[in-house]
């Protein structure tokens, strides 16, 4: 390969970025909680068929996104795994339009074929190690704790292993080191055996989105949020393992 060839290849992505900027102005930059990233990618793919807007994703934990957004990280939208962080940003005057986009669903995983009642499996609690997300840090962890309390199950500290997030809780079980746990339905693959936990056993896992006050394209951001309420978008969200929040509930709702 000639030197100029190398230079061209190196510069190509740069040119395309510049070109995109010229045509579409800036892309919408979205900070998204890891658990929703996959579903959001599918949403964006669908959304691009209708508009020319470009969207780029930054995945990470809600807490880290929050800490960075507080200090002026340049994002247009923030899809949190809860509604607490978005509400705080709104309260601090850093964001607006806090809207619930999904309810997270807890599942008990793995389960054997014959068990269909999660209360039965959890009531016996024959787990040496049981994985949940850290209730102090993760909404799914908080909900899992509520489920155990609801059923009156009190595992010993040694039995209950806590992942820093729901992904790590999943990992503990996946590697066989925990025999079961309460994880997110969105993590489940089709071949997995799991049982959804009834909604009323825990407070809803409200996942909210906000438009950042520093956004230079609040219009485009608002349009994307409106898209989330379309039937097509709701189908994608449901297929991703989430529930659609009822219109009666709202950001920072019943705590």
């Amino acid at each position: 390969m000639t030197l100029s060839g190398v230079v061209k290849i190196c510069l190509l992505p740069l040119f395309s970025i510049l070109a995109a900027t010229v045509v579409n102005a800036e892309p919408l930059r979205i900070a998204v909680a890891s658990n929703f990233a996959q579903t959001l990618e599918q949403l964006i793919e669908d959304y691009r068929q209708h508009t020319a807007v470009d969207l780029v994703l930054a995945k990470g934990s809600s807490g880290k996104h929050y800490a960075q957004l507080q200090r002026g990280a340049p994002f247009d939208l923030f899809f949190s795994a809860d509604d607490d962080f978005p509400q705080r940003l709104v309260d601090a005057g850093l964001a607006s339009h806090c809207i619930l986009y999904a309810y997270g669903q807890l599942v008990l995983w793995p389960t054997s074929e014959e068990i269909s009642d999660p209360a039965q499996a959890l009531g016996q609690f024959e787990y040496r190690r049981f994985a949940i997300a850290n209730p102090r840090l993760a909404p799914y962890g908080r909900a899992a704790e509520q489920v155990l309390a609801f059923l009156g199950v009190a595992p010993s500290p040694e039995q209950l292993v806590k992942g820093e997030n729901i992904a790590q809780a999943y990992q503990f079980i996946y590697t066989g080191n925990a025999q079961g746990g309460l994880v997110a339905r969105s993590q489940m693959r089709t071949e997995d055996h799991y049982i959804p936990v009834p909604r009323h056993w825990h407070e809803p896992i409200r996942q909210a989105v906000v438009i950042m006050g520093s956004s230079r394209q609040p219009q485009a951001a608002a349009e994307f949020i409106n898209y989330l309420a379309t039937p097509a978008a709701e189908r994608i969200i449901t297929a991703g393992g989430y529930l659609i929040p009822p219109p009666t509930d709202h950001c920072g709702g019943q705590q």
Binding site: S61, R129, R136, L160, V161, G163, E164, G176, N177
Partner: protein
């Protein structure tokens, strides 16, 4: 510093205990490894040296993930542990010891190896001409002469284990008193936006790490002043 709560104290104590146990284990087991690496001409030498050095550059979470797999019921370490009828390693203090051992290994092996190489063959030859057998030579010549390396290794191993985070995060499971060490506790405080408690722990760790490195610098300078001699 006065406002550390019970949970923080438990985490601090656990971290110190972990670092202490791991450091002793590392010193004992790294010495033969470093000795072999400094003398061997085997073809396996370089691959093994590279393997031991890997944690220096590998993200701790990668190491932690593979340890989680290896220690799991289907993993090689897990099978060995099960064979001997021991309780599984993940989410236990013993598991943290094993994980931290591998994680801090290069920090201990390398200073010892450097020290052994700096001592060289000659003092051992001298000792041999003075009727000292191999074991005698090791304890009366090699160990005393390589002592600065052992001290550096102990300080680095201890400090590095104390500050370890990624591996513990992956294989710990955050069990208070068993696996919830200082760095994880600190991370939790930060993630939970409890910045006041986070500050206290962070300042503690910062101060401690600084003190350790200061001691190390001081030892290094002192050794530089006294190790120049008749070889």
């Amino acid at each position: 510093m006065s406002a550390l709560d019970a949970g923080d104290f438990a985490a601090l104590w656990l971290s110190l205990k972990l670092a202490g146990v791991v450091t002793v284990l590392l010193l004992v087991l790294s010495t033969p490894i470093a000795w072999w690496l400094s003398r061997s001409r085997s073809r396996l030498r370089d691959p093994i040296a590279a393997l031991i050095t890997l944690p220096l550059i590998l993200p701790p979470t990668v190491l932690g993930f593979y340890l989680l797999l290896a220690m799991g019921p289907d993993g090689p370490i897990g099978k060995v542990v099960a064979f001997f009828g021991l309780s599984p390693l993940p989410f236990s203090f013993a598991g943290l010891v094993v994980g931290s051992f591998f994680y801090s290994l290069p920090f201990v092996v390398q200073p010892i190896q450097n020290a052994l190489e700096a001592v060289g063959q000659r003092p051992l030859e001298v000792a041999a001409t003075l009727r000292a057998g191999p074991v005698d030579r090791f304890f009366t010549v090699l160990l005393p002469l390589a002592r600065p390396g052992f001290v550096t290794a102990a300080v680095l191993g201890f400090a590095h284990t104390l500050g370890e985070f990624g591996v513990v995060l992956m294989i710990g499971g955050n069990i208070p008193g068993a696996t919830q060490v200082l760095s994880v506790q600190l991370y939790d405080h930060v993630e939970a936006l409890d910045y006041a408690r986070a500050h206290r722990l962070a300042a503690l760790m910062l101060g401690f790490s600084f003190a350790m490195m200061l001691v190390l610098q001081w030892l290094r300078r002192r050794n530089a002043a006294t190790t120049d001699l008749g070889y």
